[in-house]
């Protein structure tokens, strides 16, 4: 990954961190938004820093398994929020 692209991903990660903190401070009931921002950070990390976009075969398979795990967590969390 080039330096410029790594910096772009870093800025994206920081922006999502800012979203998480601001929502927690001003809209604390909006927990699904906080977790969506965290999921976005995890996705950025997995795809760009861990390099899912440039790998083939079983590396991509593992990456997809992680993403499925994340999706399952998101469904659980959103379900929890909806039924609170």
């Amino acid at each position: 990954m080039s330096t410029a692209n790594a910096l772009k991903v870093y800025v994206g990660l920081l922006l999502l961190l800012a979203v998480e903190v601001l929502v927690a401070l001003f809209w604390p009931r909006n927990s699904s938004l906080i977790m969506l921002a965290a999921a976005g950070q995890f996705l950025l990390l997995l795809i760009f820093y861990l390099g899912l976009y440039r790998h083939q075969g079983w590396v991509r398979l593992f990456g997809c398994l992680y993403l499925l795990w994340l999706l399952m967590m998101m469904v659980f969390i959103l379900g929890e929020t909806a039924t609170r």
């Binding site: 790594a6 870093y10 998480e20 927690a24 950070q41 861990l50 590396v59 593992f62 398994l65 992680y66």
Partner: protein, 213 residues
């Protein structure tokens, strides 16, 4: 100068083959890590579902500002590891070493900040098993603090290992006793581990500190 790893290690016959095997190994290892921490995160969320009042009481006592600073430090260290890998591809040894050292220092700062946080929690009677008169009233709040302590301490051990690996690589690079290919493979594996430790924290941070404040 004796360069011990100019040839791929036995039983590999080519560098590409060795690198592929190393990649498979590290991704399998990362999968076990993801499953372990994923289970802890799921337990935390199940706990939130079953005991919202107790969790809210426990979360209100946590120092989210310090945790936010820690998140910033880990994200920055991940950037530095990515830049180290880019420097390795460009053959820029000086920049590679600087990035590695910067990432390791940020990891040490993360651990120091975590230590300060534990110290504050100890003084406030929040740490499980250390306080006689805890400000937490609900039993479920105590249980959530147990979970918080286990998850964050386990993560801190992983950060410590990552820092150790980063410093080990930095020192091995110092006398230039690693071949370019050997460096590249080792650096890639350490970087992958570092990113996963960062990724785990990315999910632990809102799960433990932010949601339900």
């Amino acid at each position: 100068m004796i360069r011990s790893d100019e040839k791929p290690a036995e039983p590999f016959v080519a560098w590409a083959q060795q690198r592929e095997a190393a990649r498979l190994g590290i991704w399998l290892f990362l999968a076990t890590e993801a499953m372990m921490f994923g289970s802890l995160i799921m337990v935390a969320w199940l706990y939130r579902l079953q005991h919202p009042d107790g969790v809210a009481e426990a979360v209100a006592g946590l120092h989210w500002q310090l945790a936010t600073a820690n998140t910033f430090m880990l994200l920055t260290s991940s950037l530095l590891m990515t830049l180290a890998l880019a420097a390795s591809e460009q053959g820029n040894a000086l920049r590679l070493r600087r990035c590695l050292l910067g990432a390791a220092l940020l990891g040490v700062l993360f651990l120091a900040c975590k230590g300060v946080e534990y110290g504050l929690e100890y003084r406030e009677g929040l740490l499980p098993g250390f306080a006689e008169d805890s400000p937490l009233h609900l039993p479920s709040a105590h249980l959530f603090m147990n979970l918080y302590f286990i998850a964050t301490a386990l993560h801190a051990v992983h950060v410590l290992v990552a820092v150790g690996l980063g410093l080990w690589l930095y020192m091995r690079l110092a006398p230039d006793n690693l071949s370019a290919r050997g460096t590249r493979t080792r650096l890639e594996m350490v970087t992958l581990y570092w990113h996963l430790v960062d990724g785990i924290w990315i999910l632990l941070f809102p799960t433990l500190y932010l949601v339900g404040r």
